[in-house]
């Protein structure tokens, strides 16, 4: 079995083993064991990947494998990875592990919970390794659908409404995406060649410009919806607010990255002229999302809503960077995907832990939490500082790449848009510090004085995430070496 397929097989095996246990204690251990195998494989993958590159293998994709599985449509199980997907796989693994630690004490239907979580993760892994549009779409749907169960069953608040809204909006977006994929498929066959879903094959065929103009925006909105593109982001605040902690982490941390990744990997690569044609239009939406999300976050009092709007703002930056179409900005976009993945997962983990203690998520109802739960308080301050782009944490390096990239466009319109986007760093500081000031600082709320301090499994989860936030923030060149070569290959059709 090849190194990549194992990333899908191991979660599936974990799920099969999970079917035979009932107790929480066993279920969480099995889930954790499965994911630790996955982590070892991720690290091994990075190692193998670096070895292959060092040995002078300059193919666009490494570890490729191509097996037909639906020959009527010429759809193949075609997999392979490059630098970006390797890092995304690592991100997914770490966040799932952190998510398992956060759900260490989940009491309601633990087995089913872990099964859904890992099925979701396997869909994400499949998405990141697939090089065939059809296969990609299949895995994408596998990743999206368990979300309905996870929110609907283990959620809080108006969970059925939120789950329904999230699933329906994402499904609607998938429908647009599917139309676009079929468009790509159909137009790849117009020159008498056999139509194909294969990414590498499609890249060699030039799609008709008129068709690109139609199918590009459909696909962009399709992926943009899961990447919180304004105005298709409204599933995210409600969805995140209702989802259980681990699911919020995984969803905001990994699933929302599928949008930016898909745009980067598939649609801009395959429809370059369409991308340039629609660039200015979507740029306005992205910049609006960046400032709008930040502004809306100021008014929220619910911790999860603040974070959801913050995600809209920060993922708006990913789309913004992708639309800037130059290498620096794209490096930033990928780095921001990673960085936001870790930071937002850290946030949701902390929110879950605080909510688990106080049963309140309203920041006006808590003060002085720093004295009561110092570990969580410090971690929250770190998360807030990382989120507002403090040097030394991952957000800074990503944002600086994005802003610099935006400014390097020799075009006054794009530079002005960049200046607009830069203003979000101030607004982010406003809502983050307001939150920290209200909730963590100030006199202690007497109701909450007897809350338990952080448990070991909570510390492990936070520790993993903080470690990686700092690693990206202090050693950006290590991470950028993976991203750069991938970006170099995939930006080629767009820049001349």
């Amino acid at each position: 079995m090849d190194i990549l397929t194992l990333f899908i097989v191991v979660p599936v095996l974990t799920v099969i083993v999970l079917l035979f246990v009932n107790k929480l204690e066993k279920a969480r251990l099995i889930a954790l064991a499965g994911m630790i195998i996955q982590l070892i494989m991720s690290i091994n993958l990075i190692n193998e990947y670096m070895k292959a590159r060092a040995a002078g293998d300059h193919a666009i994709m490494l570890f490729e494998r191509n097996v037909p599985w639906y020959s009527d449509f010429n759809a193949n199980y075609h997999i392979g990875v490059d630098g970006v997907s390797v890092l995304m796989i690592l991100l997914t693994t770490l966040i799932v592990i952190a998510g398992i630690f956060v759900s260490w004490k989940i009491d309601y239907m633990p087995k089913e919970f872990f099964i859904s979580l890992i099925v979701l993760a396997s869909g994400v892994y499949g998405f990141f390794i697939s090089l065939d549009l059809f296969t990609m779409f299949v895995f994408y749907e596998i990743a999206v659908i368990p979300m309905y169960l996870l929110i609907g069953i283990w959620g809080s608040g108006p969970r059925e409404y939120a789950a329904m809204k999230l699933t329906l909006m994402l499904m609607g977006a998938s429908a647009l995406l599917l139309v676009s994929l079929f468009g790509i498929y159909y137009y790849s066959g117009t020159n008498g060649m056999e139509p194909t879903f294969d990414l590498m094959e499609l890249a060699n065929r030039k799609m008709d410009f008129a068709a690109q103009k139609i199918f590009y925006p459909l696909a962009f909105i399709g992926f943009g919806t899961i990447g919180a593109l304004f105005p298709f982001h409204t599933w995210s605040p409600d969805g995140h607010a209702s989802a259980p902690t681990a699911v919020s982490m995984l969803h905001a941390g990994v699933l929302m990255k599928l949008g930016g990744y898909g745009i980067f990997r598939f649609i801009m690569f395959l429809m370059p002229e369409g991308a340039l044609f629609w660039q200015d239009f979507f740029l306005i939406l992205a910049v609006t999302g960046v400032t709008y999300g930040a502004m809306a976050a100021i008014q929220q009092t619910d911790l999860k809503y603040i974070n959801a709007y913050s995600s809209v703002s920060h993922l708006g930056l990913v789309l913004f960077a992708l639309l800037m179409i130059n290498k620096t900005a794209w490096n930033g976009a990928m780095l921001q995907s990673l960085s936001h993945g870790f930071i937002t997962a850290l946030f949701f983990a902390l929110i879950g832990m605080i909510y688990g203690r106080t049963h309140v998520r309203d920041i006006t109802k808590m003060t002085g939490m720093m004295r009561i739960v110092p570990f969580l308080g410090v971690a929250y301050v770190i998360a807030a500082l990382a989120n507002l782009g403090l040097p030394g944490f991952s957000g800074f390096v990503a944002e600086m790449n994005i802003f610099m990239g935006g400014f390097l466009n020799n075009d006054l319109y794009k530079q002005a848009m960049t200046v607009f986007a830069v203003s979000s760093i101030v607004v982010t500081a406003v809502y983050m510090l307001r939150l920290v000031g209200r909730m963590l600082y100030g006199p202690v709320t007497t109701v909450y004085t007897n809350l338990p301090k952080a448990f070991w499994y909570e510390k492990v989860a936070i520790g993993i995430l903080v470690l990686f936030i700092t690693l990206i923030g202090t050693l950006p060149f290590w991470w950028l070496q993976f991203i750069q070569e991938s970006v170099d290959n995939f930006i080629k059709p767009l820049v001349h």
Binding site: Y292, R371, L385, P391, F396, V419, G437, L440, P476
Partner: protein, 647 residues
């Protein structure tokens, strides 16, 4: 160049100290963490002085010109493009070495002083961890060889300032002050960042040595002359870039109108005010302009530099006026800091470039140096007084001279220095600033002259009201500060007396070539500036040495003006209005509403419409078997009819 390879240790030691103290804050008990932090800083202090010695007297000067030496730590920390990169490097030149001395001296004194001041505070170890973090960031800032790197440390000093102002985080006023400080400087940093992006885009480099080189400057100037880059209102975009960079400096250095965070920042522990908000971090803006001085001076005939001069002069005057009426001693000192930094900005703004022309540059740096010593001293004495009296307000003080002689004498030395009385340090630097200003523009000189008088007045108002004025009865009789606090006071007082005699122009100059400058004792300018200082002191003596009714009379004489200055010209209220009433209420709230109701409402509308539609047609599914059979049969009949009809 291997001489200075050890230099990376200078910022590294405090960083390691921060990490160590940060991770073990709970386990290490009170005096140990303080001693550890101080020991680390002592190492930094020794290294800094050694570096200064090596640079200024042994290795630095080659062919009559100070060399700029760059030590690379990590090249290409982030590569934006082939030319634009954030390199982690250290630049060694006269101003960075000078700042190294300033930062390590004041920081060491504050570390020693805090052993006494923070005694028995629950957050003792945390305090030392934060101090180390700040020292690391500040040393990094002054040593950064790259414009983007300076921005990184710029943010880090901002956050250490945030943490230290909000050190007593259970006190709501401290929390809101720290938040305000961070957000106001962050707002300025946004301009700074935009400025950096623009400078990088046009200048094709972030490295100071490349940016400040003649080739870059002539390249940009030729673009400007040939109208190859965009211009707006008669100034080229690059000048705006420099102004944006300066706005970043205005935020950190509390220049009008971004000064509002500085008075509130006094909520932090007093040693912090001395270190961050008087001596080091707040002069970062001055340092930044000095760092990019060739660009400021040469690009478009120094248009951006004129802006610096105007902002500096206005802030100096504005802050001095407010300082006249404040009652909280730390706030008087805060406004005094703002005023003195305005002075330094003014000095840079009026400076020329070559040799003697660059007097303003040299004087600005000199004033930065001397000001760091005596302002830190003033704050530390204020801290000792507050420690003894448990109040910040002058009303609660008076007659402390006999209780706290060391504090009183050291304060007097610092006050004389800031007023510009020879032979104390402030006199020399201030006098050179005024000389430079006089050559540049008489109005600016006159404002500076006036401010010198006001400074002398409010400083001695402070001195007399704390240490003389009246014999206040204290509940707990105030006592002199413990040895470690007194040691710092005395050390800084000695520095204040000594540093004025350094012939600074031999070391620091705009074009890196040493030159000689002398005080001409007979010059009417020198005599005038001494006289105005003495006038200010005399007026303060008359009004405040004993309790008199002059102050009240003067206050009522000024009427409205007095209230305006006492309320700091209502700047805080203006900011509150803009942020809360306009940005929060008129922009943010509607956006939040729009999102929940219009955008989300639209999505919900789609859902509701679908639901309504299905509500309308659901009666078909009646649940009655025979209805279904009836539909079925009628369907069959209809199909059969159609087939028969069309056959």
């Amino acid at each position: 160049m291997n001489t200075f390879d050890y230099i990376y240790l200078v910022p590294l030691i405090p960083l390691l100290m921060f990490l160590f103290l940060g991770f073990t804050a709970k386990r290490i008990k009170e005096p140990i963490s303080g001693y550890l932090g101080t020991a680390g800083l002592l190492a930094v202090f020794i290294l800094s002085y050694y570096t200064a010695y090596r640079y200024f007297f042994v290795d630095g000067i080659v062919d009559g010109k100070f060399q700029q030496i760059r030590v690379m730590v990590k090249e290409g920390w982030i590569h934006f493009t082939d030319k634009l990169a954030i390199d982690i490097g250290i630049i060694i030149d006269p101003i960075s070495v000078m700042m190294l001395v300033v930062v390590s001296t004041v920081s060491l004194m504050v570390h020693i002083y805090s052993l006494g001041y923070m005694h028995k505070d629950t957050g003792f170890s945390r305090f030392y961890a934060y101090l180390s973090l700040f020292t690391f960031s500040m040393l990094g800032l002054v040593l950064a060889s790259n414009l983007f790197l300076i921005y990184i440390f710029w943010e880090l000093v901002g956050v250490s300032s945030y943490l230290l102002i909000g050190f007593y985080f259970e006190k709501p006023s401290a929390v809101s002050a720290s938040k305000k400080a961070f957000i106001v400087t962050r707002f300025a940093d946004m301009f700074f960042l935009i400025g950096i992006l623009m400078v990088g885009y046009f200048g094709q480099s972030f490295d100071f040595m490349t940016l400040n080189s003649d080739s870059t400057i002539s390249m940009i100037n030729s673009w400007i002359q040939n109208h190859q880059i965009f211009s707006f209102l008669g100034l080229s975009i690059f000048t705006y870039a420099l102004i944006f960079v300066f706005i970043g400096g205005m935020g950190k250095s509390a220049m009008f109108p971004l000064h509002i965070w500085l008075p509130d920042a006094m909520e932090g522990p007093t040693p912090v005010s001395a270190l961050i908000h008087a001596a080091t971090m707040v002069v970062a803006g001055v340092y930044l302009v000095a760092r990019l001085f060739p660009l400021y001076y040469h690009i478009e005939g120094g248009a951006a530099l004129r802006f610096v001069a105007i902002v500096g002069t206005f802030s100096a005057l504005f802050a001095a006026i407010i300082a006249l009426t404040q009652e909280d001693i730390k706030r008087v000192l805060a406004f005094s800091t703002m005023s003195q930094i305005g002075y330094m900005m003014m000095a840079l703004g009026v400076s020329g470039f070559d040799e003697h022309e660059g007097l303003g540059y040299m004087a600005g740096m000199f004033h930065l140096f001397t000001h760091a010593m005596f302002k830190a001293l003033l704050f530390l004495v204020a801290g000792a007084v507050i420690h003894a009296v448990h109040s910040n307000f002058m009303d609660k003080m008076g007659g402390l001279h006999k209780h706290m002689p060391i504090s009183s004498w050291t304060f007097l030395i610092a006050a004389l220095a800031i007023s510009g009385i020879p032979p104390f340090a402030g006199f020399f630097s201030k006098d050179e600033i005024l000389t430079a200003a006089f050559e540049y523009n008489k109005v600016i000189w006159f404002v500076g002259f006036l401010v010198a008088g006001m400074t002398a007045f409010y400083m001695f108002r402070l001195y007399f009201r704390i240490f003389h004025h009246k014999n206040t009865e204290y509940e707990h009789p105030p006592h002199e500060a413990p040895w470690n606090m007194s040691f710092a006071l005395i050390f800084l007082a000695v520095m204040t007396m000594a540093v004025g005699f350094i012939s600074f122009s031999e070391y620091v100059s705009a074009d890196l070539k040493p030159f000689h400058s002398h005080i001409h004792w007979g010059d009417p300018l020198v005599i005038g500036s001494i006289l105005i200082a003495l006038t200010g002191i005399g007026a303060a003596y008359l009004m405040y040495y004993k309790q008199t009714e002059y102050p009240a009379k003067v206050a009522s004489g000024f009427g409205k003006v007095y209230h305006w200055t006492k309320n700091k010209f209502y700047m805080d209220e203006l900011y509150l209005f803009v942020t809360h009433k306009i940005i929060f209420d008129k922009i943010s709230k509607p956006i939040a509403w729009f999102d929940r109701n219009v955008i989300d409402g639209f999505m919900n509308l789609l859902g509701v419409t679908t639901e309504n539609l299905s509500e309308r047609i659901k009666f078909i599914q009646s649940g009655r078997l025979q209805d279904y059979a009836m539909y079925f049969v009628s369907g069959v009949v209809a199909i059969v009819m159609i087939i028969i009809y069309f056959r």
